[in-house]
């Protein structure tokens, strides 16, 4: 089979010939992005929550010391992984782990690992921001009914903070879908790496990367729509049902309380 002479024809040709390569690449890209975002979120929540634990003078010395140490370590983690390029981190971790610790990561494990800790560093700040964005009154309300700091976080603050940072989580997922392509430097066969291989076979760079552009866009656009829909669902319905059989019995603002003062006046 020879290469067609027109652009569209060539595109269809390589799609026909190498379709599975693109699909496998896209699949790997999505797997790395989704796993990386999820694990990154978990890391981010852990770090973000730790960083917002209040320390009071009444706490024991051991607790204060431990918290301080953990906070410093998590700060260093955030600053280092936010402050260096993921491509360099990939090289550093993948080759460094075998050179320094004689630990040979598989390429796939390395890519999950790198995307996760990178996302974690960004998410830590996002989660911290999300927690700070919740009105302190919510915490006071929870404390006033006897909740501990941990219970307050789980039941009251985090559910609201997560809703507020959903757009940022979506942002991170989309960034991860695109940025996994830098992992091609350690040789993981994701979409970009796969495309390079396909393009090289017939020297059809423009055609192959046009297809890849379209695939990337479909992936990110679909994800952003799904997340938007999910956000709407989290908000719940705009209206509510009155819990009464007689719909005319209590409509808003109609409840009247007997005012003892009024009785006296009469």
């Amino acid at each position: 089979m020879s290469l067609p002479s027109d652009f569209l024809g060539r595109m269809l040709f390589i799609l026909h010939e190498y379709g599975p390569s693109f699909l496998r690449g896209a699949g790997k890209t999505m797997a790395i992005a989704i796993v990386g975002t999820l694990v990154g979120c978990i890391i981010g929540f852990a770090v973000g929550i730790v960083q917002t634990i209040p320390v009071s003078k009444n706490d024991s010395f051991a607790k204060r010391f431990l918290l301080k140490t953990v906070k410093i370590i998590s700060n260093i983690y955030v600053e280092i992984f936010r402050g260096t390029p993921m491509m360099v981190q990939a090289m550093f971790i993948f080759y460094g782990s075998s050179a320094l610790f004689n630990f040979n990561m598989s390429i796939v494990f390395a890519s999950y690992f790198i995307v996760s800790i990178n996302t974690g560093a960004y998410m830590a700040e996002t989660v911290r921001g999300g927690i700070l964005s919740i009105d302190p009154g919510q915490t006071e309300g929870a404390k006033a009914i006897g909740m501990t700091h941990f219970q307050t976080m789980i039941n009251v603050i985090m559910p609201q903070a997560i809703r507020n940072i959903m757009p940022q989580i979506g942002n991170n997922l989309i960034i991860n879908i695109k940025d996994t392509c830098v992992l091609s430097v350690i040789g993981v066969v994701e979409l970009f790496y796969a495309t390079k291989g396909v393009a090289g076979a017939y020297y059809t760079y423009f055609e192959a990367f046009t297809i890849t552009m379209i695939i990337y866009f479909i992936l990110t656009f679909t994800c952003s729509r799904i997340l938007r829909h999910w956000e709407k669902k989290m908000d719940g319905p705009d209206s509510y049902d009155l819990a009464t059989t007689d719909t005319l019995a209590y409509t808003s603002g109609m409840v009247r309380f007997p005012d003892p003062k009024e009785k006296e006046d009469r």
Binding site: G141, K143, A144, G146, N155, A243
Partner: protein, 247 residues
């Protein structure tokens, strides 16, 4: 039993940096007392209330709840707070929960009650404040007065011994003030021990059996409402009340 002091405050002071907000406060509450704390803004009323709930840590002094000093580090603050509930000026309902869930979460998570029991109790108190039809609503869908009534039901659902009210009607318009005060009157008539920081002088006069007037971080004068409102001893109290009664 009725004369038993449930809450005693000795030499309580609170400073924020160099700013002294409360100065050597002595004050006690007996079971069944309805105490209203009145005074100008910035006189330390709310801070006193927040100290009683330990939302602010007192700088010095002690707070005895049934003769146990709760400012002691060894005392469990969360379990004390289940006994001394609080209603806030800004309601502070949990925005991520429905009205019913707001009234159930404390019972389930803190008091470890099962769901059915918690629901029953929550419904009972929501009924009492007239919010039973709204159990499925989220706080953002309610008016201010409705929110405050739910907040009262939430606090009551924990079955506290004392309920603290921090200017419960200050964020409400006059009509809503009425519906919230009506609920509070009912509670007072049922013998719930309450400490109320308020600017509603008529309410303080009619409902409370003790009135505390605060100014500049100290208790200027306290006594029964008839004396405070009818025959105030100090000139500062007189002046404050005059301003209010005219307004």
């Amino acid at each position: 039993m009725a004369d038993e002091k449930v809450l005693e405050i000795h030499h309580l002071s609170k400073t924020f940096g160099t700013n002294v907000v409360l100065r050597d406060i002595d004050f006690s509450v007996r079971a069944g007392d309805v105490t209203c704390i009145i005074g100008a803004s910035g006189s330390g009323k709310s801070t006193l209330l927040r100290c009683i709930n330990l939302l602010e840590t007192p700088t010095t002094g002690e707070i005895l709840y049934h003769d146990v000093d709760i400012t002691d580090r060894k005392v469990s603050v969360p379990s004390y707070r289940t006994k001394v509930g609080m209603v806030f000026q800004n309601f502070n309902l949990f925005n991520n929960m429905t009205v019913l869930e707001n009234c159930m979460v404390g019972q389930i998570k803190v008091l470890k009650k099962d769901k059915e029991e918690a629901k029953k109790k929550a419904m009972m108190f929501l009924e009492k404040v007239g919010m039973a039809p709204y159990i499925n609503a989220k706080p953002r869908q309610l008016s201010g007065g409705q929110k405050q009534r739910v907040a009262i039901a939430r606090a009551l659902a924990m079955e506290p011994e004392i309920l603290l009210f921090d200017e419960p009607t200050s964020a409400l318009d006059p009509q809503m003030v009425g519906e919230v005060l009506a609920v509070m009157r009912t509670l007072a008539s049922e013998g719930l021990t309450m400490i109320i920081v308020t600017h509603e002088m008529a309410f303080a006069r009619d409902v409370s059996n003790r009135v505390v007037y605060m100014a500049g971080g100290v208790i200027e004068e306290e006594g029964n409402p008839a004396d405070i409102f009818g025959n105030p001893q100090k000139s500062s109290t007189k002046e404050f009340l005059n301003r209010f009664m005219q307004g």
